[in-house]
């Protein structure tokens, strides 16, 4: 039995927001794959939970007339990987999600939970940084939309106010159109392992010249990070191995990796350079462009 103090289950967003409002200490549970592990490990004992799994409108992926993609927070990683719109417009986000956990976890773990858990290692997060994703957050009384970069405050810490719930992840057309992308998860095992470093790259190339490049990492800092120095350097350059190497070097200016049992700081720095360089060359081989 889990040491859960109270459990309420909502079938609409409004109902969930009401439960959260009326019981300020309570927390949302989506797929439960982070929260239940915490309870099992003796953290969060007696926690009050608001279940949102049955709020079906939060499972949708749609694209509106302006081309903005809207991803519901309850979309599971299996759904993300198999979804037609995701595959058409941002297949690399589906690919990134496909590296998390194992199949049984991807069948239930949600993208919203992955973000709100606040881990720097979250496999969907660094790609969402590259995509300039915006998060729509609601309470019973208010709502706001903020860039994902502003949502991450520190290790395991996100800007989620009391009573607040993530209801939509938004990606604008200018942030995906014409880009190719790739997520590289470097881990000791191919499944059921946390990344030693996660590297997300998006690239837009015209006639071998880099028009736009976006680079972000997981586990390279207390939160996922975008590498502005590397990005600024890259724009307008002709892609060569030399340039790809420099992009990797420049990335080091924006990160602050640490020693942990999974890998040393020096090892991580090596990975940060190498993974960016390889991803650039690989996307170049693929044409650096995908029609979307």
């Amino acid at each position: 039995m889990y040491d859960i103090g109270k459990y309420q289950e909502a079938t609409t967003v409004e109902e969930a927001l009401r439960y959260l409002h009326d019981d300020p200490g309570s927390r949302i549970i989506a797929g439960g794959t982070d929260i239940l592990i915490n309870v099992r490990e003796g953290k969060d004992m007696g926690v009050h939970l608001v279940g949102i799994q049955r709020i079906n409108p939060l499972r949708k992926i749609i694209v509106n007339r302006e081309g903005t993609l809207s991803i519901g927070p309850l979309v599971t990683f299996t759904e993300l990987e198999e979804n037609e719109l995701i595959n058409k417009y941002v297949s690399y986000l589906g690919q990134a999600g496909g590296t998390m956990g194992g199949p049984q976890l991807r069948n239930i773990a949600t993208i919203g939970g992955n973000i709100c858990n606040g881990a720097t290692s979250a496999d969907s997060a660094s790609m969402l940084f590259c995509l300039n994703a915006r998060l729509h957050l609601r309470t019973k009384e208010s709502e706001r939309t903020i860039p994902i970069q502003d949502f991450y405050l520190g290790p395991g810490k996100v800007d989620l106010k009391s009573g607040e719930m993530l209801t939509e992840i938004l990606i604008d057309r200018i942030d995906y159109q014409g880009f190719a992308g790739k997520y590289t998860k470097f881990s000791q095992r191919k499944a059921l392992d946390i990344a030693t470093i996660g590297c997300s790259l998006m690239l837009k190339i015209r006639k071998n010249i880099i028009e736009d490049l976006r680079l972000a990492y997981g586990v390279a800092a207390p939160t996922p990070v975008r590498c502005c120095n590397a990005e600024q350097y890259a724009v307008g350059k002709m892609v060569t191995l030399e340039v790809a190497k420099t992009i990797g070097m420049k990335a080091l200016e924006d990160v602050s990796p640490r020693d942990s049992w999974r890998g040393s700081k020096a090892y991580r720095e090596q990975l940060i350079q190498e993974l960016a360089q390889r991803a650039v060359m690989e996307l170049l081989d693929q044409g650096g462009k995908k029609d979307a």
């Binding site: 040491d3 439960g32 956990g101 199949p103 239930i108």
Partner: protein
């Protein structure tokens, strides 16, 4: 708190009261004696407790029993039809994929999920589909081969 839920377990509709702190694993083993559902790690890492929930392989140790309300649950106990093992079970037997057997029901659940997609899979895809299960005995090769045989 106790809640009344109704779920289909291996084809039979069951209504019962569950505590909202209970995992589906606990309910399946303790109330329905479905002992194919193994308790290994209890934290989602080993796959021994996997069951099919509306056709998806999910670890029942980290799944609240109340979430099963209105859903269809299948365990290995339900695979046998008229005294005959399912195609996938028979493939595991024929290929000698079983040693101690503790992990096997979990593998069968994920292999069956794959089988029901009714298409062909590359060896890489099969390995990936089974990658959420740990086996301490077999070294996986025969399990992969058995799954491929069952998929044919």
């Amino acid at each position: 708190m106790l809640r009344k839920i109704t779920m289909t377990i291996n084809g039979e509709k069951r209504t019962l009261e569950v505590d909202d702190r209970e995992s589906l694993l606990e309910v399946l083993r303790e109330r329905f004696s479905l002992f194919s559902v193994k308790q290994g790690c209890s934290v989602g890492e080993c796959g021994a407790c996997a069951v099919l929930i509306d056709g998806l392989s999910i670890n029942s140790c980290i799944y609240l029993a109340v979430w099963a309300d209105g859903r269809e649950i299948r365990t290995v106990e339900g695979f046998e039809q008229d005294g005959k093992l399912s195609v996938m079970q028979q493939a595991f037997v024929d290929e000698g994929a079983v040693q101690c057997g503790f992990c096997i029901p979990g593998f069968l659940i994920s292999a069956t999920e794959l089988m029901e997609k009714k298409r062909s899979f590359s060896r890489e895809e099969v390995r990936r589909a089974l990658s959420g299960h740990l086996c301490r005995c077999t070294g996986y090769q025969k399990i992969v081969e058995a799954t491929e045989k069952g998929l044919k």
